[in-house]
Symmetry: C2
Subunit: 303 residues, 2 copies
Amino acid sequence: MKSSLLVVGSVAFDSIETRAGKRDEILGGAATFISLAASHFAAVNLVAVVGEGDFPDEHVRLLTDHGVDVTGLERVPGRTFRWAGVYAEDFSTRETLDTQLGVFEAFDPKIPEAYAGARFLMLGNINPGLQLKVLDAMAPECFVATDTMNLWIDIARAELDQVIARTNLLVINDEESLMLTGERQVAVAAEQILARGPSAVVIKRGEHGAFLFTAEDTFFAPAFPLRDVIDPTGAGDSFAGGLMGYLAGQGSTATEDIKRGMLYGTAIASNTCEDFGVDRIKAIDRAGIDERLGALRSLVTVS
Amino acid sequence: MKSSLLVVGSVAFDSIETRAGKRDEILGGAATFISLAASHFAAVNLVAVVGEGDFPDEHVRLLTDHGVDVTGLERVPGRTFRWAGVYAEDFSTRETLDTQLGVFEAFDPKIPEAYAGARFLMLGNINPGLQLKVLDAMAPECFVATDTMNLWIDIARAELDQVIARTNLLVINDEESLMLTGERQVAVAAEQILARGPSAVVIKRGEHGAFLFTAEDTFFAPAFPLRDVIDPTGAGDSFAGGLMGYLAGQGSTATEDIKRGMLYGTAIASNTCEDFGVDRIKAIDRAGIDERLGALRSLVTVS
């Protein structure tokens, strides 16, 4: 049964410099990418916070035009979260130039009553204490996907461990999986994570694809070999959003659907990289996504 | 029709230190790994050089026990090529501690008459001038796979370009493909390389798998998610040897067979990494290779 997806995370202004150019204060934030990616497959309910004075209506319209319900998008006094960064020529690293948390510093996610029964939740990368608060508001049968980052592994480990114990699908990158477990190989790290609660863990490797590990199964979704990269910001969140949007749209948490969802997530994430910010994924349609999905499937096919 | 594979390259003693331990003067060299990997699928003819005084009979027996014809293994006065290196904890880099070329410095590959009609040739990473000399000795219908390295791209570009023009299947790593073309994305680098002569280019990405590009097709062979890595030395050569051995064994240069060969090459290369030097691949059998091939195929399968 088709469900909607609840997304909790950051909405931000990003200032980005890559080998392809420079953009100032464009729409970004994990929850933005997750929501737009997921919107191709399911209705999305967004819980986030922005400044009441500086967040343009056109950004809100972009979201609602994609079927994103913004009842949970709080507008409060203060400035919207701002991030600025510059990528290395080959995109292997990026340097943060500036972070201004603004209203995100006091983000206190409130789940509208209509959302509390959601069957699918994507917890974007926010303070694990806030992730716990969201989990407390949800019905126990909710399928929870969680992202996090090295910062929280460092400074909020106890709360993060609680979040992971209540997570069904952990979506993290390879370095985070090693850091979280103290292991040296992702296959072993995944095994450890599965022992802590999640029934599935997806380990993202950026331009090198993503692994899925469950107790019974290992799957690999290859990345698409792009001819050019403009801006990879939000690619990981687009991947997770596509994956969870697909599951919500199917109303399924079956392993085979997680695999298919990873391919859809990859198809969208590769589009994200082909322009700055959300410029590409705000414009793609389902036919374009399906075309890239076909290319991803044929990429690993031997007759 | 089943063919044999002619292999030209280095045979060496490697001294290796990794997080898993240390080994001194163990059997190594590109042609060794290529030959042992290929021997699972085809008869192999080896052209290489070692010192007449320091190369133990047991190493020669190891090769002949695997069906490798050593008529072309010259034993000359002097010392066998020695290399020593240490790998970073996470294997992302390695440092060369010592290189003693010994008899390899004056290597002058002589192709025994019985080998000159070979239909499949794997040119290991040696000086492009020597690669050209080997090519001159071969029949024109020979299917030639070539490896090279950044050193030759730097200092012997003109000769390397001639080798590439006469190569059917170029097998290089991702950094080399970018260096060779001045491009920033492997998909574009591959297109440039295909315009220079080869009908196929395989771009190796180590633990991240390998791409195949032809004029009509793009294929990706995932790497196997190993639970532990002991020593990756020779993994790339094992991959190329498994690939070319498979093609020779099939007597085929069809794209679909190159794809299958890449999966066999990956299966063997992953075994190479699970012990020092040739310790693992000298012991595996075809059933073990087929088992890992099955795991690689299921890794990318969605029902």
